[in-house]
Point group: none
Chain length 226, copies 2
DNA sequence: TTATTATGGTAATAGTTTGTTAATTATTAT
DNA sequence: ATAATAATTAACAAACTATTACCATAATAA
């Protein structure tokens, strides 16, 4: 299995970290963060990221210095490093490339630009982004358009009610849906069916998906987990 | 667990998206974006937003159509939807309300106006912006949606009464709840159960959480502390 | 059409978990 | 020390869910 690409973000400003983190997570990268050089080095050793994005301006140990240190670590000699800086800090650009920066990103940057920049960088570094399909729920994929559930690559043709029930539960993994909500949402507020009907459908789903996805919360309802 | 309010923004123009996103993030909302109808639907399914702000004019699938589709999704039938459009596109206003729009916002709009509009809308929809941080209570997290208590990263599946009792006590750490209040609140004013029942439940909770969280105040009641 | 199969629902019952009580022991306050 | 209150345990009852078999109906194929 190819790894998910891991990116370490290093910046002392929390909101920039958050901005980057948010936009890169959305792309399916695994994001790690650090707020100073020391932390960054710790983290880098721990997770062996594919790419490190370093803010040049940081208190104590700046990005350049951090980069230099990281380059000395075994196993991290070839990690991709991109510097992040406010526009017009040209001097650091030069210093940055000298210590082995792979790219140089100016703040502020728009999310889309950031992302395509990252992608290009990873491509150059021969690191392929394995797109993690976030619609993959623990080996189960729900194809709403095709009204089909795919489990471990195999298509399951679930009957309508079973599909809808699964769809509802899986719409918010971890959340408990009460019987009332389930009836309302899958059967419709007016239709009157007994509570056992839900159990039976749950059982059928469990039969097909395995017992580990739908969990009973006694006295409350059911939830989907993976 | 009170969630942060999630808002999905849908517009094909990146700068509008950014404008909205920026201003709403500042208010503490969780912002998700999509640039077309299809993406919007995907995203909506994935994140179950509380509010969707949809641009009416978009290539391929317009806002009206997108709205219609979203309304058919289980779990999203009741999501708040606001349309966004250039002034004077009156026709769409009508069509918008027909497919179940909850509000209608004209572009351009000033940030402050936008924000108060959103707040009003959420208020109408009974969605409160709760900025309660889910800070764990001394290593314990109570997940009301999932009806689960997480202790040191491990999930504890508490039975209903135990969960509700813990929920009550932990709702105000440090405060003593009398037996009377506990019975009223967890068991309901009419139900008559003996006082020992509470003790037994407290004991079970202590067994699972450790003895340090629930404290007896003899002659008065119990309290949660951490 | 008719036969066949798939689906959705019910009912009965078995099985499990949860809630409550009662009895006993331990603790605390006065 | 005594009385009041709480902790603990085990047993029992109640609540709830799982499972199975069965029937009606709808969809599908011959």
């Amino acid at each position: 299995m190819s790894d998910v690409v891991k990116i370490l973000l290093v910046d002392d400003e929390a909101d920039i970290l958050e901005f980057l983190s948010y936009n890169l997570k959305k792309e399916g990268y695994d994001i790690y963060t650090a707020t100073n050089g020391k932390q960054a080095i710790e983290m880098a050793k721990k997770v062996s990221p594919h790419l490190i994005i370093l803010d040049v301006m940081m208190p104590d140990m700046d990005g350049i210095e951090t980069c230099r240190e990281i380059r000395t670590l075994p196993g991290l000699k070839d990690v991709l490093i991109a510097f992040l800086t406010a526009r017009n800090e040209d001097y650091s650009q030069i210093a940055g490339f000298e210590v082995g920066a792979d790219d140089y990103i100016n703040k502020p940057i728009k999310p889309r630009v950031l992302v395509s920049r990252i992608k290009a960088l990873l491509r150059r570094g021969n690191i392929e982004q394995v797109v993690v399909d976030k619609s993959d729920l623990g080996g189960i994929k729900i194809d709403r358009e095709g009204f089909v559930v795919v489990k471990d690559g195999k298509a399951l043709n679930l009957p309508k009610k079973e599909f809808e029930l699964l769809e509802l539960l899986a719409s918010k993994p971890g959340k408990v849906f009460t019987r009332e909500v389930i009836l309302d949402s899958v059967w419709g507020g007016d239709v009157v069916v007994g509570d056992r009907t839900i159990d039976v459908h749950v059982r059928k789903l469990r039969e097909k998906l395995g017992d580990d996805y739908i969990k009973t919360v006694k006295g409350v309802g059911y939830k989907f987990e993976f």
